[in-house]
């Protein structure tokens, strides 16, 4: 048995896939790559495959992760090559790291608590300065209240505690980029589009890309790959 942590990207039309569809697609690619997955014991065995936090439909990403357990050992470089040969266009393995099994390793969902996004907005040159200043005001605000649909119906939520960073940049005369770092995981979940919808006027979102996932605690920043030797420092 051997465990691996795999970093991948999700782009183009595959950004429209749901989390479950991504899981299924990757599982099938692993089979096509002739890799033998390890299975759980029990009445209804399932492959030992676990994914990081779900990405909303329509958002592409440059920094996604899953953990995979194989029956056979394989060199990380070769594993990456085999997977990339079997994945559809739009999904790409960027890095593979072997997980040392003699240390317990926390699941991706348990460790990841920060996500970074780049949101591109369609804003005409003349209006960019104003939008930038409005976004700055949001960052300085003590609370940002938005309406969210929950199981119990609509609820007003203050998302400000989950917003950790925000900056803006003019890309060209039509496009304004917003960089957002927010909380994810059990401590709260920031949706980048919520920040945009909190602006006083509607602004068209051109695209959203997740650019990073990491663990942050008391100023220390750790990437998922930093946990692979089981030490991880947490």
């Amino acid at each position: 048995m051997a465990k691996y942590r795999i970093r991948f990207s999700k782009e183009n039309n595959l950004k429209y896939l749901s989390h479950l569809e991504i899981i299924k697609t990757i599982e099938r690619a692993i089979r096509r790559g002739r890799l033998t997955m390890a299975y759980s014991e029990g009445y209804h065995p399932h492959p030992k495959l676990s994914f990081g936090p779900a990405l909303a439909v329509g958002i592409s990403s440059m920094d996604e992760y899953f953990d995979l357990e194989l029956v056979d050992h394989d060199e990380p470089e070769r594993l990456a090559k085999e997977l990339n040969g079997a994945l559809p266009e739009g999904l790409r393995v960027l890095a593979v790291k072997k997980i040392e099994t003699h240390h317990p390793v926390k699941s991706l969902n348990a460790i990841l608590n920060r996500a970074a996004y780049t949101v591109e907005l369609n804003v005409a040159a003349g209006a960019q300065a104003e939008i930038m200043s409005q976004l700055d005001q949001l960052k300085e605000a003590s609370e940002i209240k938005i309406a969210r649909n929950t199981k119990e119906g609509q609820k007003v939520v203050n998302i400000r505690p989950w917003l950790h960073n925000l900056s803006t940049k003019k890309i060209n005369d039509n496009i304004l980029a917003v960089y957002i770092v927010g909380e994810i995981g059990s401590g709260g979940h920031l949706r980048p589009e919520d920040i945009i919808h909190a602006l006083p006027q509607p602004v068209e979102i051109v695209s959203i890309v997740r650019t990073g996932l990491w663990h942050e605690e008391q100023g220390r920043v750790l990437k998922p790959m930093d946990f692979c030797d089981g030490t991880g420092g947490v």
Partner: protein, 602 residues
């Protein structure tokens, strides 16, 4: 795009997709399915044709499914036309648009797709440069309600004849002849039916007086003669969305010889033909390794009847289960042999097992030639519960010919009997559940019951209510079909050409996705019938043997004497045996279509 439900329906790019160079193709075919992606991609026939056509160096096939209303609105708002998934070409840029017609309640979707694709819906309104609109599938065994919308139909199995037909169309494109000339040539092929070449006249009471051939054509069903070597896909498309049949489905045999008198598939796919077991396994290995699928299903109308099913399953399970691949076998017979098979390969018994007694009493099962006894069902239920299944589904029909109150009671009795057996094996059985699924019998063209009356909406509701009162209680569940949908299906399936106007009118009023209960608007249809001055009940009535049926000019190989005799034997409650094991029943197919049944094990 982000605001549309399931955008993956429209993006394409599935694994194993074949996107060929548009400009290099001499013939471009759009394979159109008049229902949503998840249903359309699950259909095996179109998968076969997709690869068969694309394997030809000069031909190209692309797919298009019916867009859901939200995506239709998006297309309209952007002034865009309905496009294929591969090269994103507008439907009206293709040479041929071929619709797979599986279900009558998808007819209005055909019109939606033509309209959104920039193609006039009536053949008479299409110009020479418009695509040829053709149709195939089980519905074309009576395609008459759609006759005015299609240039021609392909009746029967397309895989042997389609390449030749497309080749003829390719040559025709080079000559600059008219479409009318092309159709005259094409109808010489078996399987091709050009509805415009037949003129229908009517009696004052509405019945058909005569169907006059204008060109002398005699349309005949096409059939695959060499089924053991028949084409099957090697590059199976793997979708991203959850589709209805999300697995590799391998067709191990075609046709069925059971001879159930209500079953259209059992009649129109004769004779029974099997693929060789070794070839099936070889193909499956390839398909599983190039798709990465976790499930495979060995399909046919009655899979346990495949002559070497034990050997095939043992081999398949031996090869694939160690890789974590689930093997499934749909359409099981009600006998202990089937349960035994299911028990051995279906490791996951959380799901339900379905039995189809079809009718509630021994008498009525003799009428429909379903050779299943109460004892069969009892034994099979014992075996299934003993093997660990806790969910059993029983499938019945109401409104079968000669049905009485006693037959309805019989449905409830069987349900309780099976429940009683289940409780013996699973006394605590919190998961124990008997689902009784009841649909309304719809007489279909080219079956022994094609002359029979379909029960009215009121009678359907009355029978359903009776069952609702009888079949209730813990661990019992009753499902039934929408009586209004079955009524419309019954009208369209035995309809004639005058229904084209009704379909168009209902569609113009907003009817589409009629097979979807959340979209179906029966009132639109009734308005359309009233507006066109057509009495819908005319089409569900019983017919005399001497009446000219709307499909009587189409030769399916089944002899009228056979269908009639079977209908008579139903009245006499006499069973007809299976020609797989017993003597020939003289249905006419083998001799008329010059192909004989082929069973591997013999």
């Amino acid at each position: 795009m982000g605001n549309v439900s399931k955008p993956g329906r429209y993006t394409g790019g599935e694994y194993n997709i074949q996107t060929k160079d548009w400009d290099q193709a001499d013939i471009r075919v759009a394979l159109a399915f008049p229902d949503i992606y998840e249903i359309g991609l699950s259909h095996m026939g179109l998968r076969i044709l997709y690869e068969l056509i694309n394997d030809h160096p000069k031909m190209l096939a692309e797919r298009v499914y019916a867009p859901w209303p939200d995506f239709q609105a998006l297309l309209r708002s952007k002034n865009a036309l309905l496009m294929s998934l591969e090269n994103k070409r507008d439907l009206n840029e293709f040479d041929v648009v071929g619709f797979s017609l599986q279900y009558e309640l998808s007819y209005t979707n055909v019109l939606t797709m033509l309209k959104l694709g920039g193609i006039p819906i009536y053949t008479s309104e299409r110009a020479e440069h418009d695509p040829l609109v053709i149709g195939g599938g089980p519905c074309v065994f009576n395609p008459e309600p759609l006759a005015d919308f299609f240039d021609f139909f392909l009746i029967g199995e397309a895989e042997e004849i389609l390449p030749e037909i497309l080749e003829q169309i390719r040559k025709w494109k080079l000559t600059g002849q008219t479409k009318a000339e092309l159709l005259r040539q094409l109808e010489k092929n078996s399987g091709v039916y050009v509805p415009a070449h037949f003129q229908v006249s009517y009696e004052p009471d509405g019945r058909i007086q005569r169907i006059a051939p204008l060109t002398g054509a005699q349309p005949e069903r096409a059939v695959v003669r060499d089924y053991s070597g028949a084409f099957f896909p090697k590059r199976w498309l793997v979708p991203y969305l959850d589709i209805v049949h999300d697995r590799v489905a391998y067709e191990i045999q075609r046709g069925c010889t059971k001879g159930c008198r209500f079953c259209q598939a059992g009649m129109i796919y004769r004779p029974v033909r099997e693929r060789p077991a070794a070839a099936i396994l070889e193909s499956l290995k390839g398909l599983l390794s190039t798709t990465g699928y976790e499930e495979l299903s060995l399909t046919s109308l009655s899979s346990a009847d495949y002559s070497r099913i034990e050997e095939l399953l043992t081999e398949a399970c031996g090869c694939f289960t160690p890789q974590g691949i689930n093997v499934s076998l749909p359409s099981l017979r009600i006998d202990s042999f089937s349960i035994d098979l299911a028990k051995r390969f279906q490791s996951n018994r959380k799901g339900s097992l379905t039995f189809a007694p079809e009718a509630g009493t021994e008498r009525l099962r003799r009428v429909i030639n379903k050779g299943v006894t109460r004892e069969n069902l009892v034994t099979a239920s014992h075996a299934a519960f003993k093997a660990g299944w806790q969910k059993l589904k029983l499938y019945f029909m109401i409104g079968l010919p000669t049905e009485t109150q006693e037959d309805l009671e019989g449905i409830a009795d069987l349900a309780f009997e099976v429940l009683k057996i289940g409780r013996q094996y699973h006394p605590k059985g919190n998961a124990l559940r008997i689902t009784v699924s009841v649909s309304t019998f719809v007489p279909k063209a080219n079956t022994p019951f094609q002359w029979r009356e379909q029960i009215s909406i009121a009678e359907t509701i009355r029978k359903q209510q009776f069952l609702q009162e009888r079949i209730r209680g813990r661990q019992l569940e009753l499902n039934w079909h929408d009586p209004l949908m079955s009524h419309l299906e019954g009208i369209l399936t035995r309809g004639d050409r005058r229904l084209a106007k009704v379909i168009e009118t209902a569609w113009l009023k907003g009817a589409q996705f009629d097979g979807w209960s959340d979209q179906f608007q029966f009132e639109l249809w009734m308005d359309a019938f009233r507006q066109e001055g057509i009495d819908p009940s005319f089409y569900i009535r019983g017919r005399n043997y001497d009446e000219v049926l709307p499909w009587s000019h189409l030769n399916t190989g089944l002899s009228k004497d056979f269908l009639r005799l079977e209908n008579e034997r139903a009245n006499q409650e006499v069973l007809t045996s299976d020609c797989r094991t017993d003597s020939c029943t003289s249905c006419g197919v083998c001799s008329t279509l010059h192909v004989s049944k082929k069973i591997e094990g013999n």
